[in-house]
Amino acid sequence: MNELTKKTEFFGGCPHDCPDTCSMIFNVEDGVVKGVRGNPDHPMTRGGLCVKLKDYEKRHYHPDRVLYPMRRTGPKGSKQFERISWDTALDEIVSRWKTIINEHGPQAIIPYSYLGHQGLVHGLNGGDAFFNRMGATVCERTFCGEGSCTAWLLTVGPTAGVDPESYIHSKYIVIWACNSVSTNLHHWAIVKEAQRSGAKVVVIDSYASRTAKEADWHICPKPGTDGALAMAVINSIIDQGLVDQDYVDNYTSGFDALKGRASERTPEWASEITGVPADDIRKLARELATAQPAAIRIGVALERHHGGGQTIRAVSSIPALTGAWRHVGGGITQFPVWEHPYKFDVICRPDLIPEGTQVVNNLQIGRALLGELDLKVPIKSMMCWNSNPVTQAPETDKIVEGLKSDDLFLVSAEHFISDTASYADIVLPASMGAEMEDMILSWGHLYLTYNAKSADSPGEAIPNNEIFRRLAAKLGFEEENFKWSDSECLENYVDWESPACEGIDLEYMRKNGFARLTVGTKDDRAPHKEGNFPTESGKCMFEVPGATNFVAGPFRQMYDDLQPGEPLDPLPDYTAPRESPATNPLLAEKFPLNIISPKSHGFLNSCYANMEHKIKGQGEQFVMISAFDAEARNITEGDRVQVANQRGAFKGVARITEDVNPGIVVATLGYWRQLNTGTVNSISSAEFTDMGHAPSFSDNLVEVTRTN
């Protein structure tokens, strides 16, 4: 590892909602970030960033950046604000909150954040201690991967699984529901390296994503049917006599029950549901079992339909059936963050939460604001940071209606007047990545990543954590943690004494920018070679007797009361989507097309989708549609089209392509509502999937019509 060569260079960590968490180097002149590049010494970043981050500094100094605290002066949503001082802004917030607390109690206030910044200090959980101390409604945040977490924890426990870097040793790689080329680029480079060394790369996705096009084999199940495919793979592994019986006998639990369940889930059965030929399913099963080491990389999209949790239960059972875990580069990868040593109880302070505090899930914020949920205390104020629900959450029209209510006091800490901040009563200018010290968590590799405060914030912007420090002081919160500096937070938030941190401390991070956790190396890590799953039994749990539904702690402020709690099927199985022509023919009469809404290549969620050159690169909102479906609707290439269902509508440009099969349309996420007509989430359902209150973004029927 090199140290920085110039005094004007600082280590950065990409704070965006992406598994790659790149180590970066900021070039700073006269206190201004002039450029950014990938850290060439980082084994995953390898000196390259991505289309979003390559000119990261431009976002910091964008002319539309919010520079001062502001108070709304026009109607909600009019984007009419006046500049006020920080003291005035904070006094007004505290005064309004005190009034609300006096009238309704603290649960009338809800925090709303997500991974708009992935820092330990300023990110997902940065405000949790503050709002837990207040006694506010706990916000359950399940945008992305939380159903997957529940299924993963039930099956294999909190393991990082296969090191993404170990894929260079894999001979068979399955990328399941992940468009790595656009959303996990630095892992894709490793997959390509393995491919050059002879590995076969299989991509399973319901449309021909950029990644699928680069695969040796693209398997294309109908949306929401991956669980049927996975169950049939299990069936076929057993049927073809390819089970590693020694591994199963010693390191798994519930094989006989799984075998019984899978016995009727034949490739022929799955073929009817998925559209994948039965022989292809047998071939996939055979190759997954015999081409070792075989590794499966699941993407967050795998959970985004009604049966998402069960799908991941099934998929994460496969490596234990085949004994893939015996090998370096064999097994499955979900989120390596499970082996990152963070002290979430210190970060979130769940001990401060009053007993019986109500929970609202952030996907259903529209329903909550409109009084459609059975809440003990109605929501009268929301503070939103690191998140933009109007663009990113489902049932957008309900959210907008809720945010327009004069009865709601909305505080937004933001970089720009986003689609959500447009409705704020008070807007607070938040610092951006290079302007504040933090360490950035990664759900895609096994490195700690440091981000130095490299430049001052423009205007009067301050870091999120400073906002909460100031609010805590004004509310008289005396707990020590509300007085910690950002550096002190880092000292306290990471378990530096854990074995994974051997030889690493904060000074090391400052000096080196990143540090590999001591959890084995890419060349020797085989964490479950002999079982050792971090489950209660120490085994891979095919069957989990008595399992109930829950959301993992970091996604609900570490609050463990009032979990969903409903009983779960102890065994993996296929749970059909709610909205598909096969399962809901009545709805499909009106809305016959399934829509998938993956992330845009050129945006990061809604970040960058307000920047002219990024929009130019990404292109305007498009709707990919098959020639068959286009012809049936008299749609030609480039036509303006409306995509609609019972929940809402958005507009885009038709792109007729063979990349989607008949019956499916694809429109990517992130475009701003204020720059477009609706967004893809206007049509998304806020119904949860089967586990972890995950979103059902890929379980929606729509109709497409020509509008020009």
Binding site: G47, G48, L185, K192, H601
Partner: protein, 101 residues
């Protein structure tokens, strides 16, 4: 909106770009390299790697480079992928000097 290799690559073919590309989008002939616009992910990692500043983002390039968009798109379709860095052409250093780089 991809990246493109332009005229400075001619007679150089340093190929440092290839080892910085995460997606194998470079194609080669004996003279120079071309970027497949359908595979390029616009990460920009290749731009600083090129010793002769031959690579541009089409969103941000001089107007006189525009013809290279078509050249890259057409030529890359029929040429093999180059997967690793190779020796520059014998004329590379002379060409670099001529270019003042």
């Amino acid at each position: 909106m991809p990246h493109i290799v332009t005229d400075n690559c001619q007679s150089c073919r340093f190929t440092d770009c290839v080892s910085h590309c995460p997606v194998e989008c470079f194609h080669e002939d004996d003279e120079r390299l071309y970027i497949n616009p359908d595979v390029c992910v616009d990460c920009g990692a290749c731009i600083p790697a090129c010793p002769v500043q031959a690579i541009y983002d089409v969103v941000d390039m001089p107007e006189d480079k525009e013809p290279w968009i078509k050249v890259n798109a057409e030529r890359s379709k029929n040429l093999p992928v180059i997967m690793s860095k190779q020796e520059p052409l014998p004329t590379a250093e002379r060409r670099r000097t001529e270019l003042g780089l």
